[in-house]
């Protein structure tokens, strides 16, 4: 590492579209202890296993997937809360994969994180003012007019009363606490915010308030977002580009339109079809396809060989077990829409001639109900 890495990154307004964060082959394996009589590492939880991502300046990039897919681990790797096992993370061309605390200090302030739980992520013994000014203090930043003035500004930006500077977190509701978390993240004028399930702990009516706030922050301050969530509709609403993760791999990535209306990977199809929908339009809207997978996501300790989705996939063949499909642009896909599948689906989410019901209990019940229906 050369000395110039320690220099703070220039704070000029970067042009949109330029890569801000580039992640290549990022991997995180957590050791699993076991064995007898001496405990040793007997395996690894392959939480994140070789993913490539690029977040551009000012862009909102969504990361969706079900529990255990590694989306939160990815967020923590990028903010360097976890040490990557291998792969590289570069921020504005600087490799920060294994940068030391000192080297990363100038960049730390530019990458901030918002957490899921607004109850446990704020220190209950600190006032709101102290919580928000904390990052400035640690990084030795003295804004014009003093830190207190800046905190009041930030409180105003996130829609809280600046007079509440001296209150404690417990005096706020869940939604307001999440606003405090946003204000804290904004305190250092970041260029990238990693938001890990920022609204999933909140009530529906409050969720929208926080989503709108984040959107305002993104538009007005030009901050790029890595938006991690399990709620496909929220991710769609918030993100220009979306990556779908399954068992530590990115299985499909692309612009919002491609992922949500022209998905190719069977898992993306299954995910989208599983989202319960409020059909507000008329009854004659085109029905969506119905795919019901069997069972739960397998353990990331011994993930399936080849394509990780093959054990739950209706299109899987021998090739899927032996050969891992590369994340590539399939013919017919838009620019930047990459899919990791040997046997991709058609780019549509409309209903098929026949539903795909892999769950044996569901299939059995539906068959017997159908028979009963025919008998009538």
């Amino acid at each position: 590492m050369t000395e110039d890495l320690v220099l703070p990154a220039p704070r000029q307004a970067a042009t949109a579209g330029e890569p801000l964060l580039k992640v290549e082959g990022l991997t995180k394996h957590f050791p699993v202890k076991g064995g007898f009589p001496i405990r040793r590492t007997v395996g690894h939880v392959q939480a994140v296993d070789g993913i490539d991502l690029t977040v551009h300046v000012g862009e909102s990039f969504g990361l969706v997937g079900e529990s255990g897919c590694g989306k939160s681990t990815t967020g923590r790797l990028i903010t360097r809360l976890l040490e990557p096992t291998s792969g590289s993370i570069s921020y504005r061309g600087q490799d920060i994969t294994h940068a030391s605390r000192k080297q990363i200090a100038p960049i730390r302030s530019e990458i901030q994180m918002i957490f899921q739980d607004p109850y446990s992520s704020l220190n209950p013994r600190q006032t709101v003012g102290k919580i928000i000014s904390g990052p400035m203090e640690i990084n030795g930043i003295n804004p014009e007019g003093g830190r207190e003035k800046r905190v009041r500004e930030l409180l105003e930006i996130v829609g809280l009363n600046p007079e509440h500077y001296n209150r404690f977190p417990h005096e706020f509701s869940g939604g307001q606490r999440q606003r405090i978390g946003v204000a804290r993240a904004l305190a250092l004028e970041p260029k990238l915010i990693v938001a890990d399930e920022p609204v999933s702990a909140l009530d529906v009516s409050i969720q929208a308030q926080v989503v709108n706030l984040l959107q305002k922050v993104q538009d007005e301050l030009g901050i790029a977002f890595l938006f991690i969530a399990h709620d496909l509709a929220v991710v769609r609403h918030f993100s220009q580009r979306v990556a779908v993760m399954y068992l530590g791999k990115v299985i499909e990535v692309g612009d919002r339109e491609s992922i949500y209306t022209r998905p190719r990977h069977p898992y993306t199809h299954a995910l989208l079809s599983a989202v319960p929908e409020v059909n507000l339009a008329d009854e004659n809207a085109a029905p969506r396809e119905r795919i019901r997978l069997a069972g739960d996501v397998p353990s990331p300790i011994n993930p399936p060989s080849g394509c990780r989705f093959r054990t739950r996939c209706w299109k899987a063949q021998d090739k899927c077990a032996t050969e891992e499909p590369p994340l590539i642009r399939l013919s017919g896909n838009h620019e930047g829409h990459l899919t990791a599948c040997h046997f991709p689906e058609d780019p549509t989410i409309e209903a098929r001639a026949e539903d795909i019901v892999l769950d044996p209990a569901l299939a059995a019940l539906e068959e017997s109900l159908e028979e009963a229906g025919d008998g009538d």
């Binding site: 079900e66 529990s67 509701s173 869940g174 939604g175 307001q176 009530d203 529906v204 009516s205 409050i206 969720q207 929208a208 308030q209 989503v211 709108n212 959107q215 399990h230 496909l232 509709a233 929220v234 769609r236 609403h237 919002r256 949500y260 299954a270 995910l271 989208l272 079809s273 599983a274 989202v275 319960p276 929908e277 409020v278 059909n279 507000l280 019901r292 997978l293 069997a294 069972g295 739960d296 996501v297 769950d359 044996p360 209990a361 569901l362 019940l365 539906e366 017997s368 109900l369």
Partner: protein
């Protein structure tokens, strides 16, 4: 207090043929901070074999209502007033032993988090067999066989062996299936499902919801389905009741409530929720403020401090008078029926895209 609260639930006539009939239910808890009016004047009916979806946010009273139906509230701190009639049998005053005969038998429950809702100390099979032994007088062996049969029915592979496992050896979706097997083991007439899929992943949620619907067809149970997720309720419910701050504010068939909602709170919910096919260009329209404290609920309409349509109601009725919820298709709001319709069509619907 307002002048009309006393009559709040009174005008609703008892549904003669209703399987379950809740009349003017009030549930309040004594806490250190004061009295929490968790449910305040709630009435509804449920027919056999139908699914009632109760939608509301945390603190709306939806879960409390259903714990009260089975008498599972803590009697030491709770006051229950009003009537809960199950096939004409009054449950609020029923003796504990009578309620025990109903629970798990005629009325069963499914809870949100199957990991904490199943005992870690006993096998899944035993936990399913227990109510069958109790209510059907079955022997241990018969009950075990029934448990294995039920596990097979809800889609647990290799049920004979898996029945001997403990809940922590099951995955999240499997646990919820086991929970459903336990609830259906005595073929209940009413199944109360309290956020049964909230803790699950979306693909597993889809499996469980479909399973519940298919099993309902086979078992013919009525279902009360409680959730905060409008998408889930749209998928499951025949009728929908929207709850806010301890009371029902709108009810009707699922189509009516979702496609032609009449209450500003329901509009707010629909407007604040991004959908998988909504217009991403338009920002969400959140409901301002947060739900009220039930220690000291606002006077008049509980929703008025967050309501943007207050000005269209003459005078300050919203602040002084609590709007009533009529029978059948109804909404508890002082706007006139005409206003409700035009506001929805002209101002709300276009935003929903």
């Amino acid at each position: 207090m307002t002048t009309l609260t006393k009559e709040a639930g009174a005008p609703v006539p008892a549904g003669a043929g209703a399987f379950l009939s809740v009349r003017d239910l009030h549930v309040s808890f004594r806490t250190e901070d004061g009295i929490v009016r968790a449910v305040d004047g709630l009435s509804f009916d449920l027919e056999r074999g139908r699914t009632l979806g109760i939608v509301g946010e945390s603190g709306s009273g939806k879960s409390v209502t259903n714990l009260t139906i089975l008498g599972l509230h803590n009697p030491m701190f709770t006051t229950v007033e009003g009537e809960i009639l199950l096939e004409g049998q009054e449950l609020t005053t029923a003796r504990e032993s009578e309620l025990e005969k109903l629970r798990g038998n005629k009325v069963a429950m499914i809870f949100q988090d199957p990991l904490t809702a199943l005992s870690p100390y006993y096998t899944v099979g035993r936990q399913i067999a227990e109510p069958y032994m109790k209510h059907r007088g079955a022997s241990k062996k018969e009950a075990w066989a029934r448990a294995v049969e039920m596990l097979g029915k809800v889609g647990i592979p290799n049920p004979k062996e898996r029945a001997k496992d403990y809940p922590h050896q099951f995955s999240g979706g499997m646990r919820q299936r086991a929970m459903i097997a336990m609830a259906l083991v005595c073929d209940p007439d009413l199944l109360i499902a309290d956020e049964p899929t909230t803790a699950l992943d979306v693909t597993v949620q889809a499996q469980i919801l479909d399973l519940l619907k298919d099993l309902q067809q086979e078992f013919g149970s009525a279902i009360i389905f409680i959730t905060h997720d409008l998408g889930v309720i749209a998928d499951m419910a025949d009728e929908i009741m929207v709850m806010y701050a301890g009371g029902a504010i709108e009810r009707g068939s699922a189509g009516e409530v979702l496609r032609a909602p009449q209450h500003p709170y329901t509009w707010g919910l629909l407007n604040s929720m991004p959908r998988i096919n909504s217009d991403v260009g338009a920002p969400l329209a959140p409901i301002p403020g947060s739900p009220p404290s039930l220690l000291n609920p606002p006077p008049g309409c509980r929703f008025h401090p967050r309501c943007t349509f207050q000005g269209r109601v003459g005078g300050n009725r919203c602040v002084t008078e609590r709007p009533l919820l009529g029978t059948d298709r109804a909404s508890a709001c002082h706007l006139t029926a005409e206003q409700k319709r035009t506001i929805f069509i002209e101002e709300i619907k276009p935003r929903l895209g």
